[in-house]
């Protein structure tokens, strides 16, 4: 006999709040880059770029992942979420911290505002991780998805702790190494340890579910897990003690092999799928995987230019960062939001009516044409921004950023359509 987990009423508000604030951060991100496009071509340690990157990584990426995790952890870990109150406390601390940190970065005031912001963020992240750890502890059967999620949370805490140390180091220098050296460690713990680790774990469970795949090469996930962790640990140790050097190529190859195993797993899921129709959210997801693979191809060039002392290392790092945050992570969220949010809204509005009368399906809660436009704007953005960055064309970059803003506007409009969905009066109310 199986136990059935019902959607608690508090879950809806918690998840919706995360998605909504994340969408606002996405719009803010689009506006910030649109009006400071020149910073995309400058050095990555520019204050405005730090504000933009943290809006993307924390406000847009991490917040939506937190929201999705509250909804999906019970599915992936096959147990109930430990605490919704902890989720709300984490959310409040995180949002306050995000606003303080981003504002402080934008005007570059490394004082109390930046320090308090970083501590609020660390507290929010710690509470989210605690909630995840306790939830995972209740799991009877250990599985690889759980390993990915737990390890991702550990990397996230490590990223945040190093971030806080760097913030305090601005006013009270105590770190032994160059600040840029720590920035590389901080960025890769966040990108590889948090985002990549979590996305591999969650997608490995959800993609075969959505596609109804008959073949799942689970051993590939184990290889991917160990290779990625080995790459991250080696990168941290080697870069801390020796900086970027020839060994970094080998470490990048390990990370690349990890991604190849994961993508091979996804490929077999896709190849053996019973559901043949590929909808726009899945196209967005597949595009995001392609963007990640492309971003990783840039890494050897960054290492090469950096070792050669070539200023192109800055340009290639910008391209890499843009591909990661505005490409890979954005595309994934732009797709997967429509595979998660409509369901929680549908359960709230229609669960009591199912089986009695014909009701709309979750996919009917958003406008499919708007979603197609979102995909088109996003593709045009990608083409323009990458060709603009490669050929150093401000017109192409600006056109791309306008399309990025349009993507954000269409996305938030569709999200609001789901959030404020009102069932037809013929269905009655709960």
């Amino acid at each position: 006999m199986s136990t059935l987990i019902k959607q608690p009423p508090s879950l809806y508000n918690l998840v919706i709040s995360h998605y909504l604030v994340s969408a606002l951060a996405f719009v803010a991100l689009a506006v910030m880059v649109l009006f400071s496009s020149d910073t995309l071509q400058g050095h990555y340690f520019h204050p405005k770029l730090l504000a933009i990157t943290h809006t993307a990584a924390l406000g847009w990426g991490t917040l939506v992942i937190f929201g999705a995790c509250y909804q999906l952890l019970p599915v992936i870990l096959e147990t109930e979420l430990f605490s919704y109150k902890l989720g709300w406390t984490s959310f409040a601390l995180f949002v306050v911290g995000l606003v303080l940190l981003v504002c402080a970065f934008w005007v570059f005031d490394p004082g109390l505002c930046m320090q308090a912001g970083s501590l609020f963020l660390l507290s929010g992240i710690s509470l989210f991780s605690l909630n995840t750890f306790i939830t995972a502890r209740k799991v009877k059967r250990q599985n690889i998805y759980q390993e990915f999620i737990i390890t991702a949370c550990i990397w996230l805490i490590a990223t945040a702790v190093l971030g806080v140390m760097m913030v305090f180091n601005f006013q009270h220098p105590f770190l032994q190494q160059d600040h840029l050296q720590f920035l590389k460690l901080h960025a890769h713990m966040g990108i590889g340890g948090w985002f990549l680790m979590l996305i591999i774990g969650v997608s490995a469970k959800l993609v075969p579910m959505f596609l109804v795949s008959t073949q799942q090469k689970s051993s590939y996930l184990h290889y991917s897990y160990y290779l990625l962790n080995a790459a991250l640990i080696l990168f941290l140790l080697d870069t801390y003690f020796n900086g970027i050097n020839f060994k970094t190529y080998f470490i990048a190859a390990l990370a690349f092999a990890s991604v190849v195993f994961w993508l091979a797993y996804i490929f077999y899921c896709f190849k053996s799928r019973m559901r043949k129709t590929v909808d726009v959210p899945i196209w967005h997801t597949l595009l995001s995987f392609f963007l990640l693979a492309t971003a990783m191809v840039i890494i050897p060039f960054i290492i090469y230019y950096q070792l050669a002392g070539n200023p192109l290392s800055i340009q290639s790092t910008q391209l890499y960062g843009t591909m990661i945050f505005m490409g890979w992570i954005s595309s994934l969220i732009l797709g997967q939001s429509f595979k998660t949010l409509p369901f929680i809204a549908w359960v709230k509005h229609y669960q009591h009516l199912t089986g009695k009368t014909a009701t709309p399906m979750p996919a009917d809660l958003y406008n499919k044409n708007w979603l197609k436009w979102q995909f088109v704007f996003f593709c045009v953005f990608l083409i323009c921004i990458y060709s603009g960055l490669l050929f150093r064309s401000p017109i192409l970059i600006q056109t791309g950023l306008i399309c990025f803003s349009l993507t954000a506007l269409v996305y938030i409009a569709n999200l609001l359509l789901i959030i404020f969905h009102k069932p037809d009066s013929k269905y009655g109310t709960l």
């Binding site: 959505f210 019973m274 199912t354």
Partner: protein, 110 residues
């Protein structure tokens, strides 16, 4: 699902119940739960006055699980108002794509 047994006088009624359950749609895949292979058995108990359904979900702790089970209950209460209904959710044997019927496969390929 157990095969249709012409010697069992309840077989026609069970088939009618099963056909009615085709009205319950999986919200994600948008195909009915019978062709998805989620219904393991339909039994008539208590002198034929209790409809007992044994079913599973495509994934344990499926986020739509409560909706699907609720939908089965709603559907039976609505179309068979003179019967009591019991829905038993089981996780063994676990659902696999092999349980999808040919019609289900055709619907998924649309």
């Amino acid at each position: 699902m157990e095969p249709f047994d012409i010697t069992d006088k309840q077989s026609f009624q069970k088939m009618e119940i099963l056909e009615t359950l085709r009205l319950v749609i999986d919200p994600e895949l948008e195909i009915n739960i019978v062709d998805m292979g989620l219904i393991y058995s339909v039994t008539l108990k208590g002198e034929g006055k209790i409809i007992s359904i044994e079913m599973t979900l495509s994934s344990p702790n499926c986020p739509m699980g409560a909706s699907i089970v609720g939908a089965v209950q709603n559907c039976l209460e609505h179309y068979f108002p003179h019967y009591k209904t019991e829905v038993q959710l089981v996780c063994e044997p676990a659902w696999s794509s092999d349980l999808i019927t040919d019609e289900g496969k055709r619907l998924l390929e649309r």
